[in-house]
């Protein structure tokens, strides 16, 4: 059992406790009885922990004080808030075919969603409705995976979540098209907070692709605090892609907790483009023998953005392979943080764990903090980790120029190739093409000022 310690900053927790009493408790009766104790435990834990501070090891490089200072304004109304089908069509992945669930400010909007006919054994609906229709299954799984004892944000989400997605795929069933979850914030003012909560269960031998997008229609200092629990059964094949393109004034904290079964193959991707401060926690329990897990991510930061990825991969069974590939492209005064923890239990012989974090700094003021942490308690394992922080490879730039390609274009090509390494690992072709297009556009937007040559 991995434990992390968190210092207390409990004074900041009070407004949250008050909001809980005002808005969540009164509704307890309207929800299944098993849920309220879960919520109570969440708020109690959050009250004990408070927001993490820089003194907390896991938050050493990521200062959430500005977030803690925001007025806490959970959004309770479920209006469309100006989002139209036309608005939707402009977002990335808009034109993919497949079921689509749209959430505006954390609330499901049926008129903008489209689920369509699903094969037998597939449940795709919003969590709030599933609390009633699928209560039994939710009780079995919701909150059973993510650990809130040391995670203030996950605890807060558990206390306050209103809605999100519930996806259940029965054994042996393949969901042919990717399921898209769109979480749209419409800028309801500083401190507007949503707690999207997703529960995704792919039973044994099932196949599923899920894309979670976090996007906005206005630039304000809102706060998205999401939790996704992802369960992959034995032999299941799952691709999960989180795409974060929040307002540059917003705060985005996301926790993905996965538990994977024997011989499963899971690819989890994280693309972090937006938000003033984003923190993605990925915790995977490799709970079955012989499974393969790829954690693949790209962060592009500029201005004063900070993108933080904290990973914990727990090898609890033998013969599992976990490969982490995270690339960062940082400009201006932005910051990247990567902390990759790998914990290999004594029983996990023949573990194959690999972790790579590569960063390109396009300015002198950009900063990356990268830290691998390997805790290996088995003796027959293969564990490698590597991190690089630097500029573009000079020999590559020169080679391209020697063929007639100008300096700026050569640099662009290499930066694209660097991002392409990550994009190319997305298996869903339609999603990969969209990402390729979008990320090229984003990279083009900034003149990557070449050094004097």
């Amino acid at each position: 059992m991995i434990e992390t310690k968190q210092r207390q900053d409990t004074a900041t927790a009070d407004p949250y406790s008050r909001q809980f009493e005002r808005f969540v408790e009164p509704d307890a009766g309207k929800q299944p009885s098993w849920l309220f104790p879960l919520r109570k435990a969440g708020i109690a834990r959050f009250a004990e922990l408070g927001f993490p501070t820089l003194k907390d090891e896991d938050w050493r490089f990521t200062n959430v004080a500005p977030l803690a200072k925001l007025p806490f304004k959970p959004v309770f109304d479920s209006g469309v808030n100006g989002v139209t089908p036309e608005t939707l069509s402009k977002f990335t992945f808009a034109n993919l075919s497949g079921p689509r669930l749209v959430f505006v400010n954390g609330h499901f909007v049926k008129e903008l969603s489209a689920i369509g006919a699903q094969p037998n054994g597939v449940r795709v609906l919003n969590l709030a409705a599933a609390l009633t229709s699928d209560s039994g299954r939710l009780e079995q799984h919701l909150g059973r995976y993510v650990r809130i004892d040391a995670a203030a944000f996950a605890a807060l989400n558990t206390a306050f979540f209103q809605d999100g997605a519930f996806i259940h795929v029965a054994a042996g069933v393949t969901v042919p098209e990717p399921i898209r979850l769109l979480f749209i914030s419409t800028g309801r003012g500083p401190g507007a907070t949503t707690h999207p909560r997703n529960l995704i269960i792919a039973e044994k031998q099932s196949r599923l692709t899920v894309i979670e997008s976090y996007i906005c229609t206005a630039d304000t200092a809102y706060f998205t605090n999401g939790v996704t629990e992802l369960v992959a059964g034995d032999d299941a094949v799952v691709e999960h892609l989180k795409f974060q393109d929040e307002s540059l004034d917003a705060f985005h904290i996301a926790t993905l907790h996965g538990q994977f079964g024997r011989h499963s193959r899971v690819n989890a991707h994280s693309f972090a483009l937006g938000a003033r401060l984003s923190r993605t926690n990925i915790h995977t329990d490799l709970a079955g023998e012989g499974l393969e897990c790829v954690l693949n991510g790209l962060y592009l930061t500029k201005g004063e953005q900070l993108a933080d990825h904290h990973m914990i991969v727990e090898h609890a069974q033998p013969r599992c392979a976990s490969h982490e590939y995270f690339n960062g492209i940082l400009e201006d005064k932005s910051r990247g943080v990567f902390h990759g923890r790998i914990y290999v239990h004594p029983v996990a012989q023949k573990t194959d764990a690999k972790q790579t974090n590569k960063n390109i700094l396009l300015s002198d003021a950009a900063v990356v903090d990268t830290k691998p942490q390997l805790e290996i308690y088995a003796d027959d394992v293969k564990c490698t980790h590597g991190a690089t922080i630097g500029q573009l490879d000079e020999d590559s730039v020169y080679y391209l120029r020697s063929r007639g390609i100008g300096l700026d274009t050569a640099r662009q090509m290499l930066i694209h190739a660097f991002a392409g390494e990550i994009i190319d690992r997305v298996k869903c072709e339609a999603a990969r093409e969209e990402l390729d297009k979008l990320i090229w556009e984003r990279l083009e937007q900034n003149p990557h000022l070449a050094e004097k040559k």
Partner: protein, 263 residues
């Protein structure tokens, strides 16, 4: 440069008293060499003679300092041009150790390069279809694998294959001055023949080739008009293709310690 008589009047490359070094160490100590249109020149020399430095300086590689002398390319000061400007003017260096650039697609890269050169010459740029039909034929000549165009630049190729890839690029870009830096090293006899055929096909009355090599063997296939021996940063002897054979027979010792001493 569009003057058809230009080539007849002026050499393609004039190297005059070139002195160059790296990290404070002098390597080229007064190289003189003139290459006219339609000629193939070979530069041979023992290790450390300055062959690679010569290639690097002509190609505008960083880290080399020219301390004296000139290199005039088609009447222009070559050393004053950026690497991409040299390429656009028609200079091509086939590297001794071509690097891999994973993630940069070969077609994308080569088409971009070709179009930069065409743009510079005032020729229309090629679109994807036009580019593909242009390269199809050249791929056959150099026995390029079918998936070559889909791969990243030099990614996953052996050393010898990368050398062949260089010549393929040369065939596509059609330079006026091609500098081949030890193209033969790492090639077996079959690869050598394929590469040489590629190079020979590109020979033209209007262009020129500078073949830098340690061994004579390549020159059986790419037959030079002139052979120069570089020793200790200077050309100590020049001759026709027979000079290469003499060198092979007698070894570099003949030049270093025999009849000829560096000045």
């Amino acid at each position: 440069m569009n003057n058809p008589f230009y080539a007849m009047n002026r050499p393609i490359l004039e190297i005059k008293n070139l002195h160059a070094g790296v990290e404070g160490k002098q390597i080229l100590k007064g190289v003189d060499l003139t290459i006219n249109a339609g000629e193939v020149h070979a530069v041979m020399g023992p290790n450390g003679s300055g062959k690679s430095t010569l290639a690097a300086v002509l190609a505008g590689r960083d880290g080399y300092e020219v301390t004296e002398g000139q290199a005039i390319y088609c009447g222009k000061d070559l050393l004053d041009l950026d690497p991409e400007e040299r390429a656009r003017e028609g200079v091509f260096l086939a590297f001794q150790y071509p690097i891999e650039i994973p993630g940069v697609n070969t077609t994308y890269f080569l088409k971009a390069a070709l179009n930069e050169i065409r743009k510079h010459k005032g020729e229309p740029e090629l679109d994807a279809m036009e580019f593909l039909s242009l390269v199809k034929e050249k791929m056959k000549i150099l026995h390029m694998p079918e998936d070559f165009l889909k791969r990243s630049v030099n990614d996953g190729f052996s050393g010898g294959e990368k050398k062949r890839n260089e010549i393929f690029q040369m065939a596509v870009l059609e330079p006026k001055l091609a500098v081949l830096d030890e193209t033969d090293s790492g090639l077996d006899i079959d690869a050598l023949k394929v590469v040489s055929e590629g190079v020979n096909r590109l020979k033209h009355a209007d262009n020129a080739q500078l073949v830098i090599t340690h061994y004579q063997r390549l020159l059986n296939f790419i037959v030079p008009d002139f052979v120069h021996v570089l020793v200790n940063g200077r050309v100590v002897k020049s001759g026709g293709k027979e000079l290469a054979l003499e060198l092979e027979e007698k070894g570099y010792d003949w030049i270093l310690h025999g009849e000829l001493q560096p000045a």
